[in-house]
């Protein structure tokens, strides 16, 4: 792999940029791999990366039915934070956030991690109490968050209207080392590093069936032929239910569309991420100047990747109330992704009833922030059969009643 550096840019500038190679090689499937990962999104590629980096397993294929990072990895609003309430969540998301800090150096790929700070507004007394509780919990968990007064909120984000008619801002939960990163670059950077370790990333290769020998998985059928594997990792977000069906087990997951939209680019006006969970809207400004806005999930199952229009209307209404200066802003694009929701709004990182199959799913509306940590824990689980970070997230928790309830702690927005 050619390293990217300032020197490389200078060298290529002198020879008309003819020396840049492919970031990852276009691979064709081999007959057999030690590990096959289904899904070349951020989580799948991060899993492959840590399998190689931490556990020395490099005979790995990552299969993708569409193009690399074209699912929820390319559709999220790029927010990274770890201010969760429950201990297992805080541990996993904080591990992930800390891995983002050094990701560009680790991958030799600029993922544009920007620890600009995430502010979650408290707009009801209930929310104030909830965030105070989270701030105290985070202190014990070693996650750096702080509860701010309404005046401090206004100082950090002057374009906020803190005296709104319906829901005045009463305070906010502030995580200064949270922020954003370039979502595509995360997938591309991992793909480049995986390819460099000799792994095969196979795009346009849809899994159509899972081959079992009794209770053990032995391979997959794909649109590009049959592939044998020692272990199979399913990391396919919204389509987890489909892969589980092919594998012969059930999942406590439902797939719903989640929407986002961006505005036309404007001059810099907001250098943090603001989430307003009571009125339900959240917003940040991209480096191009677009306001990046996250909407709500549909209330019913679908695989349509667009979502219902009235959610856009509700989100925009909430944001205009919170940020009056954006009232005449034009929106450029809207899109949807299919998110996999669990009953307790926490992910599943788990062995499955089928030997050799492992599943990483259920990230619901907030998977991007977890990309490196999820891969770290899932790779450990796949390589060793046990991971301290993943332990609490096994799928038998629903039978045992040990939920990791983040639906209240995290609000709905991610």
């Amino acid at each position: 792999m050619r390293r990217y550096s300032a020197f490389a840019i200078a060298r290529e500038a002198l020879r008309h940029h003819t020396g840049w190679g492919r970031a990852w090689k276009a691979a064709s499937p081999k007959r057999r791999y030690d590990v096959v990962i289904v899904g070349a999104g951020g989580h799948g590629l991060a899993t492959a990366y840590w399998l190689g980096k931490n556990h020395g397993i490099t005979n790995v294929a990552v299969l993708e039915k569409g193009w690399l990072g074209g699912g929820n990895t390319g559709r999220n609003t790029t927010i990274i934070r770890s201010n969760y309430l429950q201990d297992p969540s805080a541990a996993l998301y904080e591990k992930s956030r800390s891995l983002y800090e050094t990701m560009s150096q680790d991958l030799n790929y600029n993922v544009m991690y920007s620890p600009r700070g995430v502010l979650m507004l408290a707009q009801t007394e209930h929310e104030v109490r909830g965030y105070l509780r989270t701030a105290h919990a985070n202190k014990l968990q070693g996650v750096d968050t702080r509860f701010l007064s309404a005046r401090e909120v206004k100082e950090i984000c002057p374009i906020l209207n803190i005296e709104g008619p319906r829901y005045p801002v009463l305070g906010g939960l502030w995580q200064p080392r949270a922020g954003t990163a370039r979502h595509d670059a995360v997938a591309w950077g991992y793909a480049r590093a995986c390819s460099d370790m000799g792994m095969d990333i196979i795009e346009q290769c849809e899994v159509t069936g899972v081959i079992r020998d009794g209770d053990k998985a032995t391979g997959v059928d794909t649109t590009r032929g049959h592939i044998d594997c020692g272990k199979l990792g399913i990391v396919v977000a919204g389509h987890s239910g489909r892969l589980a069906e092919m594998s012969g087990f059930r999942l406590p997951v439902e797939s719903v569309p989640l929407q986002a939209l961006v505005s036309e680019p404007i001059k810099p006006c907001m250098d943090i991420v603001v989430m307003a969970n009571t009125v339900h809207g959240y917003m940040s400004q991209s480096d191009k100047g677009e306001m990046v806005i996250g909407g709500g999930t549909d209330s019913y199952n679908a695989y349509t990747q667009r979502g219902s229009f009235h959610h856009i209307e509700e989100t925009v209404r909430a944001l205009v109330e919170t940020f009056p200066m954006i009232s005449r802003l034009k929106m450029l694009r809207q899109w949807g992704g299919i998110v996999d929701m669990t009953g307790d709004r926490s992910p599943i990182l788990s062995k499955t009833p089928v030997e050799g199959i492992f599943i990483n799913c259920g990230w619901g509306t907030g998977g991007f922030k977890a990309t490196p940590g999820s891969g770290w824990a899932f790779a450990e689980l796949m390589a060793k059969g046990h991971s301290p970070l993943a332990e609490a997230f096994s799928m038998d928790r629903f039978r045992q009643g040990r939920f990791i309830d983040e639906s209240v702690a995290a609000g709905v927005a991610h």
Partner: protein, 112 residues
């Protein structure tokens, strides 16, 4: 925007008049049941990519619960029917079979 006909009052409603109630025809388990039964009842879902049966409430209208059969990819609605039933009407099953030969959902489906 999803549009469904309420089988009780006959109104044609867009989804903002309705409340989604999740998967239909669940088998409910009570006290004394096994953990695995509760897990199935409370958490395990069909989550199909295809025809789906679900519960809806005409919240901004007559207020009653009803069932709908809908495709989760094409959003085609195969029909709505009252909630006072344990299984979907045959005519709706036939309509789905006509549009999607070979479909299946739990014990229902096109077996031809």
């Amino acid at each position: 925007m999803l549009i469904l006909d309420c089988p009780y009052c006959g109104a044609t409603c867009d989804e903002t008049e309705l409340t989604a109630g999740g998967e239909a025809h669940l088998t409910r388990h009570g006290p004394g049941s096994e953990d695995v039964d509760f897990e199935t009842y409370l958490f395990m879902r069909e989550n199909p990519k295809g025809p789906h049966f679900e519960r809806w409430r005409h919240a901004a209208g007559c207020g009653k619960w009803f069932h709908a059969a809908r495709h989760t990819v094409t959003m085609q609605v195969f029909g709505t029917y009252p909630a006072q039933t344990v299984e979907p009407p045959q005519e709706i099953l036939d309509r789905i079979s006509e549009a999607h030969p070979g479909w299946s959902w739990r014990s229902y489906g096109d077996r031809t």
